[in-house]
């Protein structure tokens, strides 16, 4: 699926399509028969290079940002303002001894981080990162993405089980339970978008949102069902990537480090990488589904290249992740599960109904009113219902004072 940029200015068009042009120029050196394979290889290389770099950047930003939130400086030794810290960390993890516990199941222990990283990388294949910038324009791209996401759970289990460590196993079980619970929500909130777009192909979904009324875009987040779906998606994504406040599987105070307690050196770095890549990919999907993907937020900003918007939105999402991590306390396991099955899931199912209503009510202001009212009423009612019988005492800051 080839789309043309909205701006007519050739400079901006070329800037927008610069990576596509670059690839086309590069595969021009290959014989025609090998060109598709070459394009694929180039795409894979690009992804494999870009996202780990982004990962490095993100770690330093996260540590700095968290430091800022927690009123400290953060890393500041390596390079200017500690900017080369990720490099130092990378070198360190590569040179550290790879420890495998004696009773561990060595093969599984070795395979677990690989499976994780590979499946997470696979997910990027279907994400449109800019206009015409998608590795595989698959008809059922969304399904592929979730299929790959489902496979990561297995790697988590493999890591936890093979370590032969109680903490690891418990962390893995928690992680798997949590991921399964929230994956349902993740999927169902995405289904709403599919219902409206009528396609599982991510480029088509973005293209459907790349339209404007006046200067405002047709992003799905700007509809009642889209907003509700996006909020549910964001919650589920946070849980799916084991980020705070849903970071129970790695709760340091209880489980040391969860399923990768027994990992060190490069394997640990792979896990670390895998988690951040998962964060990127899930942010990318969220961006694609609800935030208009690579489309510009206002119509007159279309001259700015589409890939800039995509990565900008992803980084904004990452910022929100970091922000939440620095702000919210960790949940309890039962709270987490109750929240998933008793609030988020029912609300997402209702959102599906509302989406169907939206789809079949036709154009007009009525559907805005009806859908908003239903969702707001459901939100209030379910919130009240969920909070019934819950009593919060006055918060005590005994230790903080």
């Amino acid at each position: 699926m080839i789309t043309t940029p909205g701006s007519a200015n050739p400079i901006f068009v070329n800037l927008d399509q610069i990576f596509v042009l670059l690839r086309n120029w590069l595969i021009g050196f290959l014989p025609v028969a090998l060109r598709p394979a070459g394009a694929a290889v180039l795409g894979v290389i690009a992804i494999v290079c870009v996202f780990p770099g982004l990962f490095a950047l993100t770690t330093i930003f996260e540590r700095k940002g968290l430091g800022r939130i927690q009123n400290r400086i953060g890393p500041n030794r390596v390079g200017p303002y500690g900017l080369f810290q990720p490099l130092a960390d990378g070198i360190k993890s590569l040179t550290k001894e790879d420890i495998v516990p004696l009773s561990a199941n060595a093969v599984v222990h070795f395979l677990a981080p690989l499976v994780l990283v590979v499946t997470v990388f696979m997910g990027f294949a279907v994400l449109p990162m800019g206009r015409n910038m998608v590795l595989v324009d698959m008809d059922s791209g969304l399904l592929f993405f979730f299929a790959m996401g489902a496979a990561t759970e297995l790697s988590v289990f493999m890591a936890g089980w093979s370590s032969r460590n109680k903490y690891s196993l418990l962390g893995a079980m928690r992680a798997v339970a949590q991921m399964i619970s929230y994956e349902v929500v993740l999927l169902l909130s995405s289904v709403a978008v599919v219902m409206i777009t009528g396609s599982l192909s991510l480029p088509k979904i973005v293209a459907a949102q790349d339209q404007y009324t006046g200067i405002f875009p047709h992003w799905y987040i700007f509809t009642p069902w889209g907003l509700a779906g996006f909020l549910m998606y964001a919650i589920a994504a946070t849980a799916e990537t084991n980020r705070s406040p849903f970071d129970l599987p790695e709760g340091e105070s209880e489980l040391v480090a969860g399923y990768h307690t027994e990992y060190s050196g490069f394997k640990f770095a792979l896990f670390f990488l895998g988690e951040y890549l998962a964060m990127f990919s899930i942010s990318g999907l969220g961006t694609t589904l609800f935030l208009g993907g690579w489309s510009a937020p206002l119509s007159f900003l279309q001259f700015i290249p589409s890939w800039f918007w995509f990565f900008g939105k992803v980084m904004m999402s990452i910022f929100v992740f970091i922000w939440m991590r620095g702000t919210l306390p960790r949940l309890r396991q039962d709270q987490l599960m109750n929240f998933a099955w008793k609030f988020v899931l029912p609300f997402t199912l209702l959102n599906l109904l509302v989406t169907a209503l939206w789809r079949f009510m036709g154009e007009g202001w009525q559907r805005w009113v009806v859908c908003t009212i239903i969702l707001a009423a459901a939100y209030v009612a379910m919130g009240r219902l969920g909070m019934r019988g819950q009593h919060f005492g006055r918060r005590s800051y005994r230790y903080a004072e």
């Binding site: 979730f146 299929a147 489902a150 297995l154 289990f157 089980w161 079980m173």
Partner: protein, 166 residues
């Protein structure tokens, strides 16, 4: 018959065999996951993209995880004392072989009658969706009912004796 087919078939069968023969139950579960993945790839090879991804999503993402959970909840990861194979394993083997023989015979005996259609079918997800809510809407609804019932049933069966003091 492409090399990729042989590769995938070998992977699948190896996964299946390993899942049956390995001593450790968790290894079996992981091996069966490999078999599932191989099957999914075979589906892709057969141009059934949707079915392939659904296979991964359901079997690797759900069934394999369920199996693993069941293993851990029943302490299946410990090795049993009396060996993993039943006393009548030889009989079982013969029966399985007989089944394969019969089926293989059936397949090979009917090669000439097997239809042959080598054009790649152009089936999109959209078509599948339309078929699901069109021609196959009744099975779909029944399936939804079945899944709901199964969910409730599984929950009830699994929590049934929770109240009994251990």
């Amino acid at each position: 018959m492409t090399p990729i087919f042989y590769l995938l078939a070998a992977l699948t069968l190896a996964g299946g065999l390993a899942s049956v023969l390995l001593k450790h139950l968790v290894h079996c579960a992981l091996a069966v996951t490999v078999a599932f993945a191989g099957l999914a790839l075979l589906f892709l090879q057969l141009d059934a993209q949707f079915a392939g991804f659904a296979q991964i999503l359901v079997y690797i993402g759900a069934v394999a995880i369920l199996i693993v959970f069941a293993i851990l909840l029943t302490r299946g990861s410990d090795l049993p004392k009396g060996g993993v194979f039943s006393k009548t394993w030889f009989l079982g083997l013969i029966i399985a072989a007989a089944v394969f023989a019969v089926m293989g015979w059936a397949v090979l005996a009917s090669v000439s009658a097997i239809p042959q259609q080598n054009t790649v079918p152009s089936v999109t997800v959209h078509d599948i969706g339309s078929a699901l809510v069109g021609r196959y809407v009744l099975p779909l609804e029944i399936l939804a009912l079945l899944l709901t019932a199964a969910t409730i049933g599984a929950v009830i069966v699994a929590m049934h004796e929770k109240a009994r003091p251990r």
